[in-house]
């Protein structure tokens, strides 16, 4: 049996932000979802945050909840992978860019650089100097969970020692009917690790429910139940954060080897 540890997780959504360790709800009078300001989310410096588009902000904010050490100048992490899953992608900034284009000579290069969902990968990679394998995926509503799964596969294949896996959806009207902000980040580690795992993804050779929380009394519970491709249907998994510090995943993918 092979185990991949989830050693940290973080989330930012329309209810609040935080990690498995601590959760902060947005103030009552905040807009839903609220405008993200770096100084609210973190004590650590990050001057660029205000210039990022919505999707990047959501992904970077969720990753900040993992409390990863920020590298020293010159330090890099080639053994760390980065995987982002998003269904909506950067539709929000796509429309903003198109709007800027409508003015003669107004096409904004800054907005253009964000019209790729993978720019969020780039921003994260730059902030944490992560230079290993990187991937941005879309597969409908289950994109976040697919990111987690693809991240785990990279570790299983020995292509990285740890992986930052993120699912993020962020957009505002008119790109979407109602504003959306939902991002969760996980730190996966092939181990051995000195951080106690919050949960473990376990891979075995038979079709069982394979993810077990290592400490049932902890607030974080992950349920991953995978459906094999042998069933004939690949179900699109849905991942969402139901309530602070509880992760519920329905119809996930089973690994059968």
């Amino acid at each position: 049996m092979i185990h991949i540890a989830i050693t940290a997780c973080g989330c930012v959504d329309d209810e609040g932000f935080g990690s498995a360790r601590v959760w902060t709800a947005w103030p009552q009078d905040a807009a839903t979802p609220p405008r993200l300001r770096w100084s609210t989310l973190s004590q650590r410096p990050f001057d660029r945050f205000g210039r990022l588009d919505l999707l990047c902000k959501a992904a970077v904010a969720a990753a900040e909840m993992l409390e990863l050490p920020v590298p020293e100048p010159g330090e890099s992490r080639p053994d760390t992978a980065l995987v982002l899953g998003t269904d909506l992608g950067c539709i929000d900034v796509d429309l903003r860019f198109c709007r800027s284009m409508a003015e003669e000579g107004g096409a904004s290069p800054k907005l253009f650089s964000y019209t790729l969902p993978s720019t969020a990968l780039g921003e994260l990679a730059i902030r944490h100097q992560v230079t290993g394998p990187n991937l941005c995926l879309s597969a409908g509503p289950g994109s976040g969970l697919l990111a987690l799964w693809e991240g785990a596969k990279l570790l299983l294949a020995g292509e990285a020692r740890c992986c930052i896996a993120i699912g993020a959806e962020a957009a505002a009207p008119p790109a979407v009917p109602e504003p959306i902000l939902r991002a969760c980040a996980f730190l996966l580690d092939r181990g051995p690790t000195d951080r106690e795992p919050l949960a473990t993804l376990s891979f075995a050779r038979d079709d069982e429910a394979l993810c077990r929380a290592t400490r049932p009394d902890r607030p974080l519970r992950c349920l991953f139940r995978f459906a094999t491709r042998r069933d004939g249907i690949h179900t699109s998994p849905a991942l969402y954060l139901k309530a602070p510090r509880t992760l519920v995943c329905r119809e996930a993918l089973v690994v059968a080897r």
Binding site: P78, T86, D87, L88, G89, I91, D94, L95, F97, C98, R99, M101, A102, E104, G105, A107, S108, P109, F112, S113, Y114, T115, L116, P117, S118, T119, L121, G122, E123, A125, I126, H128, Q129, V130, T131, G132, P133, N134, L135, C136, L137, S138, A139, G140, S143, E150, K153, L154, L156, A157, E159, P174, A175, P177, R229, G232, H234, V255, A256, R257
Partner: protein, 398 residues
């Protein structure tokens, strides 16, 4: 990201120089560029800049009832790959399990531009125009057209997407999530990309000249390419003809800047080395490199340095084929994988079209004309915005 070698059993390609592997190779032999005038939509500001536009109407051949231009391009290429690989011959339950992994950057943006135009002009929200916007749309369109329910994912790593899609497909095969996968990339021209790249001031008014001393920038293109990939066992068991092997894929991230590559090329070098490591090959085993070579000052310099770092004094035959196809963004990695497969088949190396004088600062000497060569192993690079780098090692099927 692959381990055992993967068989390529089918190809599909839609591009400005041709909509079949044979047509594309004929253009490469004729050294005929696909660059021409932009006719897809009017552009006062950028309309004079040459682009590589797909001729004819992709919607006529895609088999889709509806979809964005990118969806149609993807479906045309996917159908061709599926047909050449004779995947239709599989028993229905297995045929439906064929996976789809596609890369795209623009997705349905051409339609989405219409949504915004209508909103700005008439104040009217027409959400159906955004229906094909999600990045997953082309993969959904292909799966729908071919009635496939297996592993499905869309990859978006900017200009490396096509290469990354092939790598993710190889991963899925290795993990047993599928026995056959259609993998590739698709992107259409759009006002967003034409104006967006224009705003970066790195588009060539006279067409791209990769690695040339006088290069001024890139040329945009559109298109799609799809490879039918299978495990060796699966291909042999059903007697599918094997067109080429994928020996390894490598990926890295520059972690440097949203649009500029790391100037020393170390990110690109890392991806190439990673691919060679998976393929278990030394650099000297590579006979031909299809470079990303967009023709921008930054990319070509960084990539040239990367090639010299990986190959030392013995850089193999190199060419960038971007002046044939334009820079097709997410489709590039897949189109260039097809070009490598054709080079392996024909034992000829494609011209680095547009080269007048190789830039001495870069220090590599791309092949100026399509010519004979012994090509057993090819390497294809795709280096994307945001610093995503992908490299694929392919080998001749013999």
């Amino acid at each position: 990201m692959c381990r055992q070698r993967v068989a390529v059993t089918g190809l599909g390609i839609v591009s400005a120089v041709g909509c079949s592997p044979a047509a594309v190779w004929a253009a490469i032999e004729r050294e005929a560029s696909g660059l021409g005038a932009l006719s897809l939509f009017p552009s006062q500001r950028c309309g004079h800049i040459p682009v590589a536009e797909v001729r004819g109407e992709p919607a006529d051949r895609s088999g889709l009832r509806s979809g964005s231009r990118t969806d149609h391009l993807a479906a045309c290429a996917a159908r061709d790959a599926f047909a050449q690989a004779a995947l239709e011959a599989l028993p229905e339950a297995l045929r439906r399990q064929v996976g789809v992994v596609l890369g795209t950057t623009t997705g349905g943006i051409l339609d989405s531009e219409a949504f915004l135009e209508r909103l700005l002009a008439q104040g009217e929200l027409a959400p159906e125009l955004l229906r094909h916007h999600p990045p997953a749309s082309p993969a959904e369109a292909v799966a729908g057209a071919l009635d496939l329910v297996g592993f499905r994912a869309t990859v978006s790593t900017a200009c490396a997407s096509g290469a990354t899609a092939i790598a993710v497909a190889c991963d899925a095969l290795a993990a047993g999530e599928a026995d056959a996968v259609l993998a590739g990339g698709a992107d259409s021209l759009s006002r967003l990309t034409v104006n967006g790249f224009g705003s970066l001031l790195n588009v060539a008014a006279d067409g791209c000249r990769p690695f040339d001393a006088g290069r001024t920038g890139l040329s945009l293109g559109e298109g799609a390419a799809v490879l039918a990939l299978e495990t060796e066992q699966h291909a042999r068991e059903r007697g599918a003809p094997i067109l080429a092997w994928i020996l390894g894929c490598g990926s890295s991230c520059d972690a440097y800047h949203a649009t500029a590559p790391r100037p020393d090329g170390s990110g690109a070098a890392a991806a190439m080395r990673a691919a060679l490591a998976v393929a278990q090959l030394e650099p000297q085993a590579v006979d031909y490199v299809n470079a990303h070579g967009t023709g921008t000052r930054d990319n070509d310099l960084a990539e040239g340095l990367a090639l010299r770092a990986v190959f030392g004094d013995r850089v193999p035959a190199v060419s960038s084929t971007k002046r044939f196809f334009g820079h097709t963004l997410a489709a590039a990695g897949a189109i260039e994988a097809v070009v490598c497969i054709l080079a392996l088949e024909h034992q000829r190396v494609p011209a680095n079209l547009g080269l007048r004088q190789a830039d001495p600062e870069i220090g590599i000497h791309p092949v100026p004309h399509t010519c004979d060569a012994q090509v057993r192993v090819a390497l294809s690079n795709s280096l994307g915005f945001g610093g995503s780098n992908g490299s694929i090692v392919l080998a001749r099927a013999s």
